[in-house]
Symmetry: C2
Subunit: 441 residues, 2 copies
């Protein structure tokens, strides 16, 4: 009986697994060097946790299930609610600032398409307990530190930065009532994805006053933080939001990544919980979905039953990133090929027992080693082995760097022949077995 | 609104995450050195996949869910069915032998108890395409290679090895009909977990003939493969099964791990799919559940719609292992403590901008660095910083190895003060900033 995999999921055969490991190892390495510590939560949580603050889109896409007690659960579609729960649980015991990262496996019941899967991995970095813009800059720097490390330049990717607080202040400034802000965010968030006319029609529906709509339109195409200053009256909220943004850009400049960063007021972010600086990284060509997105969410921990503690963070999925890295040839060049270090062979079947002994000893030193499974050895001594040339051919097929040959030299002087397979003309050397093993440790 | 985690799941705060990473990194390292390549599948599969061959206990404990098309899915309770599906899908393209490992996250709706969780990680190693006993020995060696590497001796753990094929041959030899074998396995598998009288009663129910029951009882307490030879008539099946077991023990002896291995016919394994050598590793004290279990399953790929290809493998969960490692003090001694390498500070707020620049440069070299989030710097130059002594105190709290101090020496000669915090009496040195950074790369 043949059963297919579920649509929208991936099978990671060793070559795909090598790519996934390389991406995730890079995320971890950059997180640690930027001062973050790793955490993780369970793969499922109580369903209601995702009904508090995740966007409507996410709630619609939950994979929900019941446990045996009839409790409603859901496979996690994002890890931020888990983060909020975990931090709230130990709020008094955790040293601040909390700089945490995670690489959760997430599931969303989406229609599978390019860069969107039902199951994916997402790098999350979050700083909790710091209200200063430096923390927002740190999150963006960490993101760019990774993208730069894997070889993406500012001709490939761009961090588009704005501020939900600035947007809110501008909207309030032109007279939009508080209760209309959330639905207006949803429209503005779609600007880049819609034809100009469709967007204008949608905006007009939300904001019938054409003067108001014009200021909003002008704001959405501002090219610099300074441009915004001339657009609207300068109240405290706007001044404060502009100063925060300026500090973020200045800090990123000092940190050496300003050539990746632009101000883009079109960045709104779909999720309801953002309260300050928001950003997304996009491919410069603009053919793919956002590579990552994040921002400040100062109210989320309170919404999950904890105290009001400022927080800022970022999430980057593996699907879009992998497409971009593949397009730029950066996977091909950087993902390590599996390499077996030693393939242990014998010139005669009588050395079969020595293959077992020496292979196990090589492995114990920490180096990889294998041998041919055509070997046969009974306790009585009865043995058989494929020919040496067949064993050597198998070593090449398994991409072994070196072959260890156990032959007459071993019987005579306990010496091994080591054949280097990485060169076009394999070279050979002879070495005593004890010397060989002690060189490995 | 405060929402609790789901019972039987774990939150991995950084200290717990460090333990999980250390365990999993060890599994990966030992897998690679023993010649295995990593794979993974999706977190859920079609429900029916688990109804084919997983044991009844596992099927009862499935977390099942539906996708939007109404298809029945289940979170994976084990990865072997996925492995069978993936291998069958590419059966003609995959080079043999297939030596694969994986560290899947698995979920079972069990009653949470010591060493049993609803969500856990399980190390799996499998060799597919080799019928020879050498492959069974390789799987057991790989298991023991890991346990030995993390410091468990043969006074802590023991690999108990038997053969489903031998057991089947013995049962057939005493006259048990073929169709009763599976239900009898289930009884025999419980022997070690039950009081002797309860076991005898259960056996008598399955095998009313007391002569038959006596031979089975005698077999179950045999201390060596040789003991079995005197118990039963020597047909080809028995001879063959005994030879396989002897080869496994002999190979493990040559590989240097025989002091961990015993023959134990009480090892039956619950799962229906085993066909040959089976084994479990137990703590010697016998207080915990099995640390791992595995064996040969030559029919599974065929049962999943593929050709009949021999296979042998092992699974080790993290829950029981972690309990044992903690009891033996092996986590405390070996799991690395998080260590921040550089904490960058300033003796005066005017150096705030240099903190950002130098921190980013240290990180780019691959070393971890952080600074105090009390720093404030506006593009105009307005700045503030906590006192140096407060910054140094924070560095100590964050367990930083070294502090970089930017002060007057930096203004005068672009030199940094590097303070080594790992010694009881912190030592200081002065070094030019360019020299410092180039020494790091």
């Amino acid at each position: 009986m043949k059963i297919p995999p579920v649509k929208g999921t991936r099978d990671f055969y060793p070559p795909q697994m090598a790519i996934r490991n390389w991406i995730i190892d890079g995320w971890k390495q950059v997180s640690v060097r930027n001062g973050f510590e790793e955490y993780d939560g369970p793969i499922f949580e109580l369903l209601q946790m995702y009904q508090i603050k995740s966007g409507d889109e996410i709630v619609e896409q939950l994979f929900s299930l019941q446990d045996r007690g009839g409790r409603d659960l859901a496979i996690r579609p994002e890890i931020t609610p888990t983060l909020a729960r975990m931090v709230n649980q130990q709020i008094n015991a955790l040293p601040r600032p909390i700089k945490w990262f995670s690489v959760p496996r997430l599931c969303r019941a989406e229609r599978p398409q390019k860069g969107r899967l039902r199951e994916f991995f997402q790098w999350n970095v979050d700083i909790i307990g710091v209200d200063r813009s430096t923390a927002d800059a740190e999150v963006i720097l960490t993101t760019l530190d990774y993208l730069r490390m894997v070889g993406l330049t500012n001709r490939d990717v761009q961090a588009k930065i704005s501020s939900r607080k600035l947007l809110a202040a501008v909207l309030r400034g032109v007279g939009i009532p508080e209760e209309k802000l959330n639905s207006l965010y949803a429209v503005l968030d779609k600007k880049a994805k819609l034809p100009a006319e469709t967007f204008e029609a949608m905006l007009a529906e939300q904001v019938p006053d054409s003067n108001q709509a014009r200021v909003i339109q002008d704001f959405m195409v501002a090219r610099s933080v300074e441009d915004v200053e001339s657009l609207v009256d300068f109240d405290d909220d706007i001044q404060n939001a502009i100063m925060n943004l300026k500090i973020v850009f200045h800090t990123l400049d000092l940190m050496g990544v300003s050539d990746y960063c632009v101000f883009d007021p079109g960045i709104v972010r779909g999720l309801a919980y953002y309260t300050g600086v928001v950003f997304e990284v996009h491919d410069v060509v603009g053919e793919l979905r956002a590579i990552c997105g994040g921002g400040r969410y100062d109210n989320l921990l309170r919404d999950f039953g904890g105290p009001r503690i400022p927080a800022t963070g970022m999430g980057m999925g593996d699907a879009v990133l992998e497409i971009l890295l593949a397009e730029k040839g950066l996977l091909e060049r950087q993902v390590p090929k599996p390499q077996l270090e030693y393939y242990v062979t014998c010139a005669d079947a009588i050395f079969t027992k020595d293959i077992f002994t020496i292979t196990a000893k090589i492995r114990e030193t920490g180096h990889s080693a294998a041998f041919n499974y055509g070997l046969w050895l009974e306790p009585s001594g009865t043995c058989e082995a494929p020919s040496l040339s067949k064993q050597l051919k198998d070593a090449a097929k398994q991409n072994a760097s070196k072959c260890v040959i156990i032959g007459q030299e071993y019987a005579d002087k306990r010496e091994l022949v080591i054949k280097d397979m990485t060169k076009d003309q394999p070279s050979q050397a002879q070495v005593g077995v004890d010397q060989f093993l002690s060189d490995l440790t």
